[in-house]
């Protein structure tokens, strides 16, 4: 791209640490292993609700002991907040971020969750109504959508900002993007940004099932096998998604701040854009998505050709994938960029999705390999996509990656990561 397009672009923001708790594993070795093998963590789960008969649902759970996490506030934690604390601790450790090396007033927490403590609220309400047990005095502070960001701010002593973003499946992509903007604007130097979600409780699962967006499972002996391949993004036979739970956190800093403290830059956040379809509560609008992708490219100062991998939102719903295939083709041209949706293996992580999928894209960038879009026997012939199917694809010289997050409510968010240029 010519240098005349550069003035529109913003400065890249350094990412110096990352951490994850996810169905694929809670460290990068396990995460990469499942990511590049395309190994699904989705399993069948029965919906146990007394007096109500519902079919089982596909879920991707993380192996995670929330009870082992010490709350900075000492009050009980929702599982999604416990996951947030562990992921953020990992990120801060990788970044070498210790209290005496940053100004707390210049540190902000930017965190995304779709429904945050909803599963705790469900559990406590169930004891109230079904078992006539009291509500706990901490029900409010455990349930509130900013519970994760509040505990994270306590943990890291952040004085600059503690902001929670709730825009459904785009929540954590927006949180990361807004942290990036705050750093670029000079309002803070460092941010811990990401998202977490853990909503695998019967009432929440039944709510998603009622929307008919979860893939129905086969009966009997085939149930487990059908769960593992429940989510088939961009496949001709796609039938919906599986819910998952996860947290992913990143340490973002201005390039100057990272350099001054001698931090290793893992990758750069080069571009971000968010907008809204403003069309429909659930149906996605390819025009809105395309506008968001183009705006993120302009923000990064990159042409579409510069992007070597696109991690799609790819929920494997009929309408969602069709809209995204159309918007990707309109921005990149038919088959113009290698695409995969990793939701096939980690499920739909809702508010945590943007953060975990940015991590997947960043791991691809680091490895020079593109993770496969698992579970696709036959891609939908209507889509003009270069879908990375069956196995990981080598991509030496991979330099820029893009991650899409499109939410119920019409919020679109696009993040672009690049190899550090210094």
């Amino acid at each position: 791209m010519s240098s005349t397009a550069r003035p529109l672009a913003g400065a890249p923001v350094a990412v110096t640490g990352a951490g994850v708790v996810s169905p694929l594993g809670n460290d990068f070795a396990a995460f990469d292993d499942a990511l590049f093998a395309g190994r699904s963590a989705v399993r069948a789960r029965a919906l146990e609700i007394p007096g109500v008969e519902l079919p089982p649902v596909p879920v991707a759970a993380a192996e995670f002991d929330a009870a082992a996490v010490v709350a900075p506030s000492r009050v009980p934690l929702d599982r999604c907040t416990a996951m947030a604390l562990v992921a953020a601790d990992h990120a801060a450790r990788e970044a070498g971020l210790v209290a005496d090396r940053f100004d707390a007033e210049r540190l902000g927490i930017f965190w995304g969750s779709g429904m945050a403590g909803a599963s705790t609220f469900e559990t406590t309400c169930r004891s109230l109504y079904a078992e006539q047990r009291r509500m706990r005095p901490t029900s409010v502070v455990t349930t509130m959508p900013n519970a994760p960001v509040a505990e994270l701010a306590l943990r890291f002593g952040a004085r600059g900002a503690a902001l929670a973003f709730a825009c459904a499946c785009a929540s954590s992509a927006v949180a990361i993007g807004e942290a990036m903007r705050a750093i670029r604007a000079g309002r803070i130097d460092v941010a811990i940004a990401g998202g977490s979600e853990s909503l695998l409780t019967p009432g929440v699962l039944a709510s998603w099932q009622a929307m008919r967006v979860l893939t129905p499972l086969a009966a009997g002996a085939d149930r487990e096998a059908s769960a593992q391949r429940a989510c088939r993004p961009f496949a001709a036979d796609r039938a919906g998604f599986a819910l998952g739970e996860a947290a992913a956190a990143f340490v973002l800093e201005s390039t100057e701040h990272a350099r001054a403290r001698g931090a290793v830059v893992r990758f750069d956040l080069a571009g971000y854009a968010t907008n809204c379809d403003g069309v429909h509560i659930t149906n996605p609008d390819p025009a809105g998505q395309a506008r968001a992708m183009r705006a993120a490219l302009a923000d990064a100062g990159l042409s579409a050709e510069a992007i070597g991998y696109l991690n799609a939102h790819g929920t494997a719903t009929t309408a969602g994938d069709a809209a995204e295939a159309e918007s990707i083709a309109s921005v990149f041209g038919a088959g113009g960029v290698p695409v995969s949706s990793t939701k096939a293996i980690h499920g739909h992580l809702l508010g945590a999705g943007g953060a975990v999928e940015l991590l997947a894209a960043a791991r691809a960038l680091a490895a020079g390999r593109l993770p496969p879009n698992a579970n696709v026997e036959c891609a939908d012939p209507a889509f003009a996509l270069d879908l990375v199917t069956r196995c990981a694809r080598e991509s030496a010289g991979l330099d820029a990656v893009l991650s899409n997050s499109f939410a119920f409510g019409g919020t679109n968010a696009v993040l672009i990561a690049t190899r550090p240029r210094r």
Binding site: A67, A71, S73, R74, V75, P76, R133, R136, P137, T138
Partner: protein, 91 residues
């Protein structure tokens, strides 16, 4: 104070509230545990739930400083005894 009652208090404080085991002694007051008022209320709820009893509010306000773990255990013992012999309810 029944030893098993204190053991339960000890377990809840150490396992659930991550209080240092060495700090959990019968003569230690609630406000010396490093928990704020909200966490203290949550703690009392948790031990009550463990025995499925309630300490009447006029006998204990966990926000009051100075109540020791031993006194809390005795209040729990009373509540457990009341539950075991329903005729002395309100007694």
């Amino acid at each position: 104070m029944t030893p098993s009652t204190f053991d339960a208090i000890f377990a809840v404080l150490v396992e659930q509230f991550k209080v240092d085991a060495a700090a959990v002694q019968p003569q230690v007051a609630l406000d010396q545990l490093g928990l704020d008022s909200l966490a203290l209320m949550e703690f009392v709820f948790a031990v009550e739930d463990r025995f499925d009893v309630r300490i009447p509010e006029d006998r204990l306000d966990p926000r009051q400083a100075g109540v020791t773990l031993e006194q809390l255990a005795l209040l729990l013992d009373e509540a457990i005894a009341r539950k075991a012999s329903p005729d002395v309810v309100n007694g």
